[in-house]
């Protein structure tokens, strides 16, 4: 059963990529830093260079945190849909295989938030 | 046996109702909070029309309870004379 209905019924998904004016959604979460209460949602063009996210977008989102300045990007571990994943900073989102509504998490070893509380 | 409860607002109208419930259900326990009282009882609790009528000096209609009730739990058995809450387990 796909839905309980009196007759044949199909829903229209509201969040198809065609509705985002050339952007696709990318969700990003910083593990062990719950000061940011939830992962973040970004609309990006698929042609955006991945490195631009890390260098130009994320500092505005996460820079408030005292750990941000201490992140060693050579040691960061990435997860895509919960599985280990390696980004290529000089390639675009599309070239990195990132599609609409993909979810990335990054771990920053050694950094565990305010007083080690994962905040 | 699980507990049932009835919660009533605390005001002048409910004072004799609460007194009656506690007198008719010696196993019941009142828990007071601001503006309300919650009466817990193991298994079963009965509100009796006659006891309330005696205390207030006029005929009480058990459905008057609706005006002061806050909440309750358990199955309800209601007649003109008694209002009972109980679990079946």
């Amino acid at each position: 059963m796909q839905v309980a209905a009196v007759k044949e019924y199909a829903g229209t998904p509201r969040d198809g990529v065609e509705n985002f004016h050339g952007n696709q959604l990318l969700y990003i979460g910083w593990d062990d830093h719950l000061m940011f209460c939830a992962p973040l949602t970004f609309p990006f063009p698929p042609t955006l260079r991945f490195g631009d996210i890390v260098e130009k977008v994320l500092p505005g989102a996460y820079g408030y945190h005292p750990d941000w300045a201490r992140v060693d990007w050579s040691k960061v571990e990435w997860l895509k849909s919960g599985q280990p994943w390696t980004p290529h900073f000089n390639r675009t989102l599309a070239e990195n295989g990132l599609g609409h509504k993909d979810v990335l998490r990054f771990r920053t070893p050694g950094l565990t938030g305010i007083q080690g509380s994962c905040s | 046996m699980s507990k049932v409860f009835i919660a009533l607002q605390t005001n002048d109208d409910t004072r004799p109702i609460i007194e009656s419930i506690l007198a008719d259900n010696p196993h019941a326990l009142p828990v007071e909070s601001p503006a309300m009282v919650k009466i817990d009882a193991e298994g079963r609790l009965t509100v009796k029309r006659e006891s309330i009528s005696e205390r207030i000096g006029r005929e009480f209609d058990l459905q008057e309870l609706h005006t002061h009730l806050i909440s309750l739990s358990g199955h309800i058995d209601e007649s003109d004379d008694e209002f009972t809450l109980h679990w079946n387990d």
Partner: protein, 517 residues
């Protein structure tokens, strides 16, 4: 001369039968299926509607009598409260922010419940159920009206109370209650009554209307106390209807059990997610506290709900499978949700703040296993930063759960340091969830939930700006445009309580109330 012989007064049961069932009739011009087109499609089998027993046996004449009395009491108190400037007697103006949430998030649900029960009353073929649903539909309308009347008094003095119905349809966090009730009223009549009548009314509304409203009384808010208890006096009848309905459905046919169990699982979880906002209202927004969320949870969900499910076990009903996760979350819920609203306080019609040291002590004491370890460091850091003029605001929109629509703020069961992520591919698209239970709800009816109106996605699609906006124009400020679309007055309604107009006015007016200058 004719003598009027007084007739013996009818007993309650006889009166009830005469005034409900005996006033009903069977259709003859049209087949029954055409008159009641929604009675069968959910798969619930009913063989004999006469087996329906309304345990309260309230007839319409008695209903009007008692409801009129409740209304007279309520409005007498509301008048007295506003005539005596009662709003200056509340413990602290911070408290009023909880009441803003009540008006924007709860009151519109009362109105939706009115619509839902009116529909269910029309859709059920049995007269007992129809009468009970009709009374509840009228009750729910009364609740919406009395809440709006009581709270309009605050709108004269404080910010954020001015446009609740408009906000309900637009503001990001209000999509949580809105989607909850839209889900319920777009279900069939049986699922609706199990969702709202049983899972919500019986298992969960006590948590809102009993300890929270008692808390309102404790904080000097006579207006909220009065409408709250007046509403809850109807609630006892609603809970009874919900329980009766479950028993009736289960006794009618053994094939109904798995359907009802799935609905109970679904709606217990949806209700628990919805009530997470009440958790933070109780633990963080009442300056004087009657009990913690966790304590209220233990009394009204674990003890009372436990007794209920034990009783229903003889029909084969078991506790919903989400209960284990719910048990773990009670130590974390209010803190996580308050932290989330603190993050996004720039986009709400109410203020947030960090608890002071005394309040933190209370939280440590009530949550000895979690508060100091997981939440105090974060909250102290935020408080220090706020005092230095560097108050934290999260400037990027959060990721939302497709089902409950709450930001993905909940942590993994068993690990409060990690966000819980779940995802599902359906027809070539990805969908994300805050929990296994929200994902299961989606899995059971994906065609319903793919249509979710997720506020964050809607903003990024450009659907939440005032009409005529041009997001490509130079200097376009998307946050300001969204707030304007919400009709939220930036700088007055939103942000930190410290330094707010509400805070200044309350202090000034309370001072004036004690002096003659």
């Amino acid at each position: 001369m004719d003598m009027q012989v007084p007739k013996k007064k009818l007993g309650l049961k006889e009166r009830y039968t005469l005034m409900t069932r005996d006033l009903a009739w069977d259709t003859s011009y049209q087949p029954k299926e055409k008159v009641y087109p929604y009675a069968d499609y959910e798969g619930i089998k009913i063989h004999d509607w006469d087996k329906w027993e309304d345990p309260f046996r309230l007839t319409m004449d008695a209903y009007w009598k008692y409801q009129a009395e409740k209304e007279r009491k309520l409005y007498a108190i509301i008048d007295a409260y506003s005539q005596s400037n009662g709003h200056l007697g509340v413990t602290d103006a911070r408290y009023l922010n909880a009441i803003k949430i009540f008006l924007t998030a709860v009151t519109p649900l009362e109105y939706m419940a009115h619509r839902g029960f009116a529909h269910a009353g029309r859709a059920f073929p049995g007269p007992g159920a129809r009468v009970a649903c009709m009374m509840q539909a009228i009750d729910e309308m009364r609740h919406a009206q009395t809440q709006i009347h009581s709270l309009s008094n605050y709108n004269k003095y404080y910010n954020g109370f001015h446009d609740a119905p408009h906000m309900y349809d637009r503001v990001w966090y209000l999509s949580v209650p809105k989607s909850f009730f839209d889900d319920a009223i777009t279900a069939g009549p049986f699922e609706f009554i199990v969702s709202v009548g049983f899972s919500f009314e019986y298992v969960l509304t006590n948590l809102l209307f009993v300890p929270f409203v008692s808390g309102a009384a404790y904080n000097g808010d006579m207006g909220t106390m009065t409408f709250g208890f007046s509403a809850q006096s109807d609630e006892a009848r609603h809970m009874t209807l919900g329980l009766e309905c479950i028993k009736f459905i289960l006794e009618q046919d053994p094939a109904n059990l798995p359907i009802v169990q799935r609905w109970i699982d679904k709606w217990t979880w949806r209700g628990v997610r919805l009530l997470s906002i009440v958790a933070m209202m109780m633990d963080y927004m009442l300056p004087k506290r009657v009990m913690s969320w966790k304590e209220a949870w233990e009394i009204y969900f674990e003890e009372n709900g436990g007794a209920l499910f034990k009783d229903l076990a003889r029909y084969g009903i078991r506790m919903p499978d989400c209960c284990e996760q719910i048990r773990q979350e009670k130590d974390h819920l209010s803190h996580q949700v308050w932290a989330a609203f603190y993050n996004y306080s720039a986009a709400t019609d109410f203020h947030t703040w960090m608890p002071d040291e005394d309040e933190m002590k209370w939280l440590s004491q009530k949550y000895p296993d979690t508060f100091d370890q997981h939440y105090r460091p974060r909250f102290e850091f935020w408080r220090e930063q706020q005092q230095k003029g560097n108050r934290f605001y999260n400037k990027t929109l959060p990721m939302l759960c497709q089902t409950c629509q709450i930001p993905m703020l909940f942590t993994e069961p068993g690990d409060p340091t990690k966000i819980c992520y779940r995802e599902r591919d359906y027809k070539g698209s990805k969908y994300h969830f805050c929990s296994d239970h929200c994902q299961h709800i989606f899995d059971n009816e994906p065609e319903k939930y793919v249509q979710a109106w997720l506020p964050v996605h809607q903003i990024y699609q450009g659907n939440c700006f005032p009409e005529g906006s041009d997001p490509t124009a130079p200097g376009f400020d998307p946050l300001a445009a969204v707030l304007e679309h919400y009709r939220l007055n930036a700088g007055r309604d939103n942000g930190d309580f410290e330094g707010s107009e509400d805070q200044r006015n309350f202090e000034a007016w309370r001072g004036m109330a004690k002096r003659n200058d």
